[in-house]
Amino acid sequence: MFARRPVPFFRPVPFVWLLEKEWRELLSSRAWWVMLLLIGPLVGVSFIGAVRTYAEVSGANGVATGAGEAFSPLVGVWAPTFSACELAAAFLLPFVGIRLVSGDKQSGALKIELQHSMSALARIAAKALVLLAGWSFASAAPLVAIVLWKAYGGSAYAPELVTIAFGHLLNAGLTIALAAATASLTDHPSTAAILTLSVTVGTWILNFIAAVQGGVWERAAGYTPTAMVAEFQHGLIRLDVVLIAIALIVAGLALASLWMRLGVPVRRRTCESLALAAGTIAAIIACSFATPSWDTSENRMNSFSDADETALASIRAPLHIEAHLAPEDPRRVDLERRALSKLRRVLPKTQVQYVSATSIGLFEQSAPHYGEIWYDLGGRREMSRLTTAEGVLETIYALADVKPPVESDEEIFRGHPLAAQPKGAAAVFYGIWPALIVAAGFLVRRRHA
């Protein structure tokens, strides 16, 4: 009856049981219900504000005040609406994740479950899958916003929405991995919470330093969750960003699994963690060389026109740009956003070097070369001070002896103005949503009791 059992490589049934157990634990977690309860009003505030602003810009007061990009629902409605998910991922989701991982340690369940031969990675994967499912439920709030927007007669471009939802799913994955790692590393949930929030605040500090210092900081800050989500919110999917996010998620979960093995000596766990960190850094560096990207925005806000991209693609010589602009100079921001970010997508080998003596550039204005942007294409050099896309392209075409393409009116994005008020949204997000969550929570608790 009681026989020794060989350790099998994979047994599907225990994993299904583990998934079921994690799901039950999630359902009994107050942190998850609180997240569900709060995300509705959070999305509601963002959505209602965005729709009102969009209506004003669209001429709700009699005069349309914008054109083109201003009437893109992606920028005008979805980016602010989904930003509530970013807030929830930063401040609510970590507690749900920590509760699910730390709970087993605190209650002693981990000591029992560790006596199954299942790998620690499979255990943490079960928790991550359930947490992602839990996050998907929370993501119903922005879906409701989409339904409302369509009901107002608004335009919704599916690729944009899929991109932005994918970006927030990756961001949630990063948060879950971070929370799992900190909960596994520490003995107490409150320590894990402090550690998780410290990492989040740390990425904000990195963004701040990058904005001031530029250089390598700027490159590193490009992969923080905030910067990553911003790319997706502009309808841009960059392979390097996706791969690095996945590498970080896997690393976080692997770290959590290493420290979940209570029976392994701390010294060995530390060595394995250091090896994992080294491997992750190598993977991140390798992934950062991946250049493909996809612009899913309806107005192609991350791309030059098709004609310009075709013309640029014919340029074979390496392009080197030296811009004498300080990190905090608004012209540098313009140059990056309007021209260079698009240029890198067409000419991935483009090298950009910024030169400045200070971070704000205020006292460099009188310096002889400040504001100059030097272009070197296959040994031919040209200087320009223009930071617009048109100015940059003009200079490059001149250097490459390429005839500038004729701009087609058909390619210009006219936008989707909508002067509609967010009718019923307040009732849905501030009344119906919380009521439904409370009722669901009550029913689930009653069923389990």
Binding site: M1, R4, R11, S28, Q115, G263
Partner: protein, 239 residues
């Protein structure tokens, strides 16, 4: 004859040695009591054996072969003391989960529920149970696991006299079914009631191993003959 041999097991917490060169045997179909006062290293010993706490030396041998930490779950199941796992889940689910997750004995479920008098608390969340109820539920859970050796840390802690006797009876029934039990007990009277053999642990060291008669003889041989032939006196004489 020997199912598991613990050989020179050592565990240190910094400068404190919790287990020092601990060696003993676990024989098939016996109830082995690990006896010792609070702080003698019983829980540390069980956690090291089960592989949920790293040891600093020694080995756990199965038929002469050293078992790696992750292999021990094929032979041993350890039930820790003073835990309240899955506090929001009802007892019924915890029993089902044990059977499903560990590949336990579904056929024994009804018998275990009856033996531990769990019918009235099957739908109660584990976190709401009293200490004694929780102990009974967890013991029931451990009896459903399939490993041939069960390590239970303080199985009678929190139980009243009647419950202690019922649990002892249930544990005895397990042994009759072919299972081997290793029980960590600090109440010597309880240990004497159920165990076939004893390992006396004090200050992290094994002071003696054997049946009551063997331990008594050992004490006499060391020139510390017990005043009476009972476990308490033998324990005091040897530690």
């Amino acid at each position: 004859m020997v199912v598991v041999r613990v050989s020179h097991l050592t565990k240190r917490y910094g400068h404190l040695t919790a287990l020092s060169d601990v060696s003993f045997s676990i024989r098939p179909g016996e109830v082995l009591g690990v006896i010792g006062p609070n702080g003698s290293g019983k829980t540390t010993l069980f956690e090291c054996l089960a592989g949920v706490l790293p040891d600093d030396g020694g080995a756990v041998l199965d038929d002469g072969r050293a078992l790696a930490t992750n292999e021990r779950s094929s032979v041993l199941f350890y039930l820790p003391d003073a835990i309240a796992p899955w506090p929001a889940q009802p007892v019924r689910w915890a029993l089902d989960y044990t059977v499903g997750f560990f590949g336990g004995r579904l056929d024994a479920l009804d018998d275990v529920i009856a033996r531990f008098d769990l019918a009235s608390i099957l739908d109660s969340p584990i976190g709401t149970l009293s200490k004694g109820q929780r102990k009974r539920a967890l013991l029931a859970m451990s009896l459903l696991t399939p490993q041939p050796v069960l390590l239970a840390d303080e199985p009678f802690d929190g139980l009243d006299l009647r419950q202690t006797r019922e649990v002892a009876e249930a544990l005895r029934a397990q042994v009759a079914g072919g299972r081997t039990l290793v029980l960590s007990i600090h109440q010597i009277v309880d240990a004497a009631r159920i165990c076939d053999r004893f390992v006396l642990l004090s200050g992290g060291c094994v002071r003696g191993e054997g049946t009551l008669a063997e331990l008594s003889a050992m004490a006499t041989a060391r020139g510390a003959a017990p005043r009476e032939q009972n476990l308490e006196e033998v324990f005091l004489a040897l530690t």
